[in-house]
């Protein structure tokens, strides 16, 4: 009985080893079959980021519908380099020649609702103008 158990264990281990060797050899074979690209070939991404080509008008500050307790606010944003940027409120017009992509200006606020229109006009007629409107409420909450 003991002899039979020993033989069974021996064959079990042997079978396991054979299966393991077969699996390892198959994996190695598959790895070798993978296509190797020459070192001078580079894979480029299939889809290019189209947004990086055309800068859309972005207004990062102030947030629309913001309630503030100061009588001025900083308007910050990004647009096409070299654009004419007009920041208009009922009480002030600010004209910015945006030499860089980003622009900023301090805008005075009147008590109550302040509609701030930010328009960007790229030089020439090839690119379209863009406009954003934000509303800021200067409320003297005392």
């Amino acid at each position: 009985m003991k002899k039979e158990v020993g033989i069974a264990i021996f064959f079990g281990v042997l079978l396991g080893l054979i299966v393991a060797v077969v699996i390892i050899s198959r994996i190695r074979l598959l790895e070798n079959q993978k296509v190797k690209l020459p070192s001078n070939v580079q894979i480029s991404p299939a889809v290019k980021n189209l947004n990086s080509q055309v800068q859309t008008l972005e207004v990062t500050e102030p947030k629309d519908q913001a309630v503030v307790s100061k009588n001025s606010v900083k308007v910050k944003g990004k647009t096409v380099k070299g654009s004419l940027v007009i920041i208009q409120t009922p009480i002030k017009d600010i004209v910015v020649n945006s030499k860089e992509e980003s622009f900023s200006a301090d805008v005075p606020l009147a008590l109550g609702e302040n509609i701030i229109t930010i328009a960007s006009y790229p030089k020439g007629s090839q690119q379209r103008s863009q406009e954003k409107v934000v509303k800021v409420y200067y409320l003297d909450e005392q």
Partner: protein
């Protein structure tokens, strides 16, 4: 020798006990301090959140029942504003200064800004500000009538507006070389120029889409030509 050892043993025991006792006495104080700090932090956070969540709604008054006011916002939403005789303060800011007024003086057609908590189109007003409603926009000038001093403007939404240019209208034109805005007369405005306008909504406009211009800013067409 035994005496010295027992002396040190008692000394260490007593000192440890006193330290332990101190810790026990100190613990409630520390806890109290901790609770107080937590309370302070919570209060600060609540104030911060209130400031962060502070919202204002605007609209035209359609009904004033004194305890409640109904307004219609620009997007057509109807809000019911609850007025508290003690808490709610009403100010007129149309002139640029803040003048308090009574709820009885709030009229149908007034443009107001309401600050206070808003839930399900019902606002509990802390403050109400009566203001001038401005309309702003831009477009291309399709007609510059120098006889009757009006401008026809085609907006990006393909709407045509008529802007009356009055003596009081502030008129500016951008110099395409210096990018400075200079004051101009009507004669300098040409068809094809781009215009940015500011008008006051009075509610008494005689003609649809016809407004008296408060301010105009002209971008000459030369800017867009290479």
């Amino acid at each position: 020798m035994k005496k010295i050892v027992s002396f040190f043993a008692i000394f260490i025991l007593v000192s440890q006990m006193s330290l332990f006792a101190q810790g026990k006495v100190a613990t409630p104080t520390a806890q109290e301090n901790g609770i107080q700090q937590l309370k302070d932090k919570l209060e600060e956070k609540v104030v911060e959140l209130q400031k962060k969540d502070q919202k204002a709604i605007t609209g035209i008054v359609s009904e004033n029942k004194k305890s409640t006011v109904t307004i219609k916002s620009a997007d057509g939403t109807v809000y019911r504003i609850k007025i508290d005789n003690v808490i709610t303060k009403l100010y007129d800011v149309a002139s640029g200064d803040k003048k308090e007024f009574k709820i009885d003086d709030l009229e149908k057609g007034d443009f107001i800004i309401v600050s206070g908590p808003v839930s399900d189109q019902v606002a509990t007003a802390n403050n109400i500000y009566r203001d001038v409603q401005y309309l702003m926009g831009s477009g291309k000038i399709t007609e510059a009538n120098a006889t009757d001093f009006f401008l026809k403007v085609l907006t990006p939404e393909k709407e045509t507006l008529t802007l009356d240019v009055e003596d009081s209208t502030k008129r500016f034109l951008i110099d395409v070389k210096t990018f400075e805005a200079e004051t101009i007369g009507f004669a300098k405005i040409k068809e094809g120029d781009t215009i940015h306008y500011v008008v006051k909504r009075t509610g008494t406009e005689r003609e649809k889409n016809r407004y008296s211009a408060t301010k105009i800013l002209i971008i000459p067409q030369e800017y867009f030509q290479k």
